[in-house]
Amino acid sequence: MSDFDPVEMKRMRWRSRRGLLELDLVLERFLARRFDTLTGDQLLAYRTLLDLPDTDFLEVVNGKVDLDAPELMEIVDMLRAI
């Protein structure tokens, strides 16, 4: 757990609603299983991923594309495994 702003965490929960069903399903599981135990750095990484366009985000989650950003790959790996 982190001392991340609780309002920001609620905002991130809502922003996990996407335009593509496949992302909704993956992020819904992630929110239920992992989100509440993330560290501050992990939450920051997840917030950065949420800014990706849906089509790019899905390719990352599906493992078709890797991001040239090592600090994000820990969360990406969690999303791929979930």
Binding site: R13, R15, V26, E28
Partner: protein, 588 residues
Amino acid sequence: MGVPVRRFDAVIVGGGGAGLRAALQLSESGLKTAVLSKVFPTRSHTVAAQGGISASLGNVQEDHWEWHMYDTVKGSDWLGDQDAIEYMCRKAPEAVIELEHFGMPFDRLENGKIYQRPFGGHTQHNGKTPVQRACAAADRTGHAMLHTLYQRNVRANTQFFVEWMALDLIRDADGDVVGVTALEMETGEIYIFHAKAVLFATGGAGRIYSASTNAFINTGDGLGMAVRAGLPLEDMEFWQFHPTGVAGAGVLITEGVRGEGGILLNADGERFMERYAPNLKDLAPRDFVSRSMELEVLEGRGCGPHKDYVLLKLDHLGPDIINQRLPGIREIAIKFAGVDPIKDPIPVIPTCHYMMGGIPTNWRGEVVMPKGGDPESRVNGFYAAGECACASVHGANRLGTNSLLDLVVFGKSAGDHMIDYIRGEMPDWKPLPADAAGPSLARIARLDNQTGGEDVAEVRAAMQRTVQSRAGVFRNAANMALGVEEIAAVAERAKFTQIKDKSKVFNTARTEALELDNLIEIAVATLVAADGRKESRGAHAHDDFPHRDDENWMKHSLFFGEGRRMEYKPVHTRPLTVDYIPPKERTF
């Protein structure tokens, strides 16, 4: 305590393709325009449209908009309005070229023109030979359209209210629309948006089904608001399905799996398609396979704890074929069904994809309803476009690639007619009625004070199971009559939903409860409209009335929330400039 009021010339609810196209028209004309969206506009469900946008550009093969019109009328099974269909198909080339000029990155031919690919149902010479009519931006056409239109809107100074949820339509004593109430998610505060004209572009409502390809945001908010404001919904019995979505998830498994030898099994392990279609078996036409699957479930031979799906078996194909010829299927099955198809069958069910019905409009995007003997009297100040609207161009079934076209053509048309209305008829804002926010405040207060009520997710699941089992692809009189009773009982439960989190800021539980209020209106409309239509047409296949009945049923249905009653109105048989296309047997 007063509810704060914001005033705009035009307010648009929904930031997908239709809303953005309309907003662009209004903002560029100099009108003060607001777009309200639950999510960031480029994350609207338009992003999921991959196939393309059809237009008779004739860049690859000879093509004419009249041929496109014929295909669309035939696809609609003669329920589409031929004036609206003509308008859409005639405007299509101009709409696509306009998007190109806006900077949308279409795939191109070597000569620089837009490339066009083939797509099912699109033909030359009125059904004779397939034609390449679909313009696409790789497999990201919807995504590219959204980004292009969003950027143009930013340039045109459209004011975006992102993460705002519209709650209710405001109509005055004359029945005219003068605004909406909306919830700012970041604060939980309610505002009134006072407008000279309001456009709904809120998208589809596929989430009324338990099996749906629609994103979670597709809760038909505009339709719910329309019903609560006393407006009808048109042709709500017509929903488009795909036969094999992953049960419990909705992600599609391509039909190529059955082409490669995958077979469908019921709970007894029986290859049931041999019984329904002894020759074609699992490769029977899509509608037929869907209905057979659902009949197995309805007759108690479904699998799983709720006996609500069948199994798609692939393991006999062997890992090599699965990995080589069906790439991605194994990953989808593992990720969304939790099974490895090399070893175990995939749970599948016919899955809802698109809503043909919606808020009744004409080709100008004006919302219309029966009044004083006129079946299509204009509702002053109210417009709708895109999947939430029923113009009606898709009629009883939608042709692929016509949905993106619908968004831009009718988004623009609605925008143009809103400009005319605002400039020509509305020099000033009509006053807001007293207590304009009353119904919305009452709904929020009810939610906050509810005790002893039910969980939102439970009621939503009950609604989805009812709609799936009673108004899915297999329909008969007895089953739909049961469905009407069952959904009425679920609607009662929805009046007493309860949320644990009463906080104001980004309260997703509250948002979901408000979305359920909208979904439930649409679920009721779907069941009542389906139960009412005693024929088979397009996506509505009625087992007791297996044929199209043009004499008695070539008419649009209108569902009214009050009394849950149905009315009907004629199909428009007069195109704008060309001859009527008379009904024919629909063979392919």
